[in-house]
């Protein structure tokens, strides 16, 4: 955890991460654009201001653990891991290349990736295991699990939610990327999740709601430990496809193979946003 984290630095990380996500979505296979863009600030806040991880020693035993349970946002994780220095950003050109290690869903073949994810509903049980292991080892290391909101329709998430509260795993934090959309529509139109905060509370978790694109708020919420004896659910309100106005908040942003024209347009939009920001991100 760094106290010298500058907001402008985090914004710059986010901007580069978004550009790399666009590049991967312009690859021959395309990629999960919307759900990767929605969690950029969440992952940048975690990797640059919260997680105690060392790219030079990615498997250091005392490291904090991050599980990207919404593994379909693998390209978002790859871009952030590259930005954090786990591997050269040039390696991302190998995304979806035959024979390469960058499949759409992440595997531990990639430095910094803890577990294979992509089949939804696996991350929180793993997180309970990581947090339980930390406690049994007498370690203060923390475990973060980043979940999609549509993913919360998987029953195994709630099995783990019950277990975490019952075990009083205060080292465990679940972050829900609440972008409100899944493949076939709005989550509330498919199988509703609300009242979502109340549901987590009823399962015994402390709940914090936050603007999932507000880096300052995310660092603040994620950087400090929660109440003793309770796991924390951070519901991060986000916009699917964030940063690209032509897909923001749209169901079709879920998966995209950007043509050359869309790619140039995306980069132009992201560049313009950076200039307009003046480094504030607003």
């Amino acid at each position: 955890m760094s106290e010298s984290v500058e907001a402008a630095d985090l914004e710059a990380h986010c901007a580069r991460v978004r550009e790399r996500i666009v590049e991967m979505c312009a690859s021959v296979e395309g990629g999960h654009l919307g759900g990767s863009m929605s969690l950029v600030e969440i992952l940048v806040a975690l990797y640059f201001a919260v997680l105690r991880v060392d790219p030079a020693e990615p498997e250091a035993p005392g490291r904090d653990r991050l599980v990207l349970s919404k593994g379909h946002a693998g390209i978002g994780l790859y871009a952030v891991l590259a930005e954090r220095g786990f591997f050269p950003a040039e390696d991302l050109a190998g995304y979806a290349e035959p024979g390469g290690r960058f499949s759409a869903h992440p595997t531990p073949a990639i430095p910094g990736v803890e577990v294979p994810t992509g089949s939804l509903g696996h991350g929180l049980p793993l997180g309970v295991g990581f947090a339980l292991a930390a406690r049994l080892s007498g370690s203060a290391r923390r475990c973060f699990v980043v979940l999609g909101d549509g993913e919360l329709q998987e029953g195994s998430v709630w099995e783990a939610a019950m277990a975490a509260a019952s075990l009083r795993l205060d080292g465990l934090t679940a972050v829900v990327d609440r972008n409100g959309l899944q493949i076939t529509g709005g989550t509330e139109d498919v199988v509703g999740l609300e009242p979502l905060a109340d549901r987590w509370r009823a399962f015994g978790w402390a709940v914090v709601e936050v603007d999932g694109h507000d880096l300052g708020a995310l660092v603040d919420v994620l950087g400090k430990p929660g109440p003793p004896d309770r796991p924390v659910a951070v519901i991060a309100r986000t916009v699917k496809g964030r940063g690209l106005p032509f897909v923001e908040g749209q169901v079709r942003s879920h998966y995209a193979r950007l043509g050359d024209r869309q790619r140039r347009r995306a980069h132009a939009v992201l560049r313009a946003a950076r200039r307009a920001d003046g480094g504030t991100g607003r």
């Binding site: 294979p116 089949s119 049980p125 793993l126 309970v128 295991g129 049994l136 783990a160 277990a163 075990l167």
Partner: protein, 317 residues
């Protein structure tokens, strides 16, 4: 039948395993198997995660990713099918040293009925890359194989039954993980069996055959994967497999697959549970016999494989 049950042998061993190795954790799923067990100074490493088997496997994986060696307790049906995806992705894909200790395998659940029978676990588990699949036939064998698992770097699935099964005479040598255990030697036909009742049926069948002048070599194939194919297929004669499992996918399939790829490989005939659910009440011994896993059926298959006259017709249903 004063024998110990395999699962009781396992239960009694766990505190010792935990005391000997601080990496060992015991994860339970409300099975009740560990009621009253004193874990001593390791009590924090026994965790009952309730009735939630997908979570159970995921938690085991998270612990194993962190350097622990979890022993995970559930029923075979819930490990092999309900929680299969977690076993596949969280555990097997990562090659983690999780020990899945499954009770109520095969027809061991008896009168509990077909929801609790598990006649597919050997097929399912041996499909998973890196999975070691073990079926001890006695409590002593279970204890021995569990100890030998300490050296297995990847995941292990072990059948532990429910109640004590009839104990066959001990083998000529103690079970060694990965090696088919020779129980009786003979020069005419090979019988390869896995699990308590099948091993007993195989030995009794060998006695029946001997009365007809047919000498059977009998193996206890406690390690279904990796299969000791070289030994099982080395002869003599054709191979009759015996298992408390559906005929598809289990030991018989594994032996047949290996035989098919062996130049001049032996003929393989299977004695297994027919392609149907096994409804109705009855204890394990009753259901196993009703499913046709009997000494007479094994002997009949052996005679057929050798082209001998069938001594008497035996119903296979």
């Amino acid at each position: 039948m004063s024998a110990r049950a395999c699962r009781d042998a396992y239960r009694d061993l766990v505190p010792e395993l935990m005391a000997a190795d601080p990496r060992v954790v015991c994860l339970d799923s409300d099975t009740g198997l560990f009621a009253g067990v004193d874990f001593g100074g390791a009590a924090d490493r026994y965790v009952n995660l309730g009735i939630a088997e997908q979570n159970l496997m995921g938690v085991a994986a998270g612990l194993a990713q962190s350097g622990f060696v979890p022993y995970v307790n559930t029923m075979a049906a819930f490990a092999a099918t309900r929680a299969l995806e977690a076993v596949k992705i969280d555990i097997a894909l990562c090659g983690l040293p999780v020990r899945i200790m499954a009770t109520h395998d095969g027809l061991a659940a008896g009168h509990l009925g077909p929801t609790h029978h598990c006649l597919e676990d050997l097929a399912v588990m041996r499909l998973l890359p890196g999975m070691t699949v073990l079926v001890p036939h006695t409590a002593d064998a279970a204890e021995e194989l569990i100890r030998q698992c300490a050296d297995v770097p990847g995941p292990v699935y072990m059948r532990l039954g429910r109640k004590a099964a009839p104990e066959p005479p001990p083998g000529l040598e103690p079970p060694r993980l990965g090696r088919a255990q020779l129980l009786r030697d003979g020069a005419d036909v090979t019988i390869a069996a896995t699990g308590p009742y099948p091993v007993l049926a195989a030995l009794d069948a060998a006695a029946l055959l001997a009365a007809d002048g047919v000498q059977a070599r009998v193996f206890n194939v406690h390690t279904v994967r990796p299969l000791d194919a070289g030994v099982v297929l080395a002869g003599p004669g054709p191979v009759v497999t015996v298992e408390e499992h559906w005929a598809s996918g289990g030991l018989g399939s594994a032996v047949a697959e290996a035989a098919a790829e062996l130049p001049g490989g032996p003929r393989v005939l299977r004695v297994a549970v027919p392609d149907a659910f096994v409804p109705g009440a009855g204890d394990q011994a009753h259901l196993v016999a009703r499913a046709g896993i009997t000494a007479e059926a094994v002997a009949a298959r052996a005679r057929r494989a050798l082209g001998r006259r069938p001594v008497r017709r035996f119903s296979e249903t």
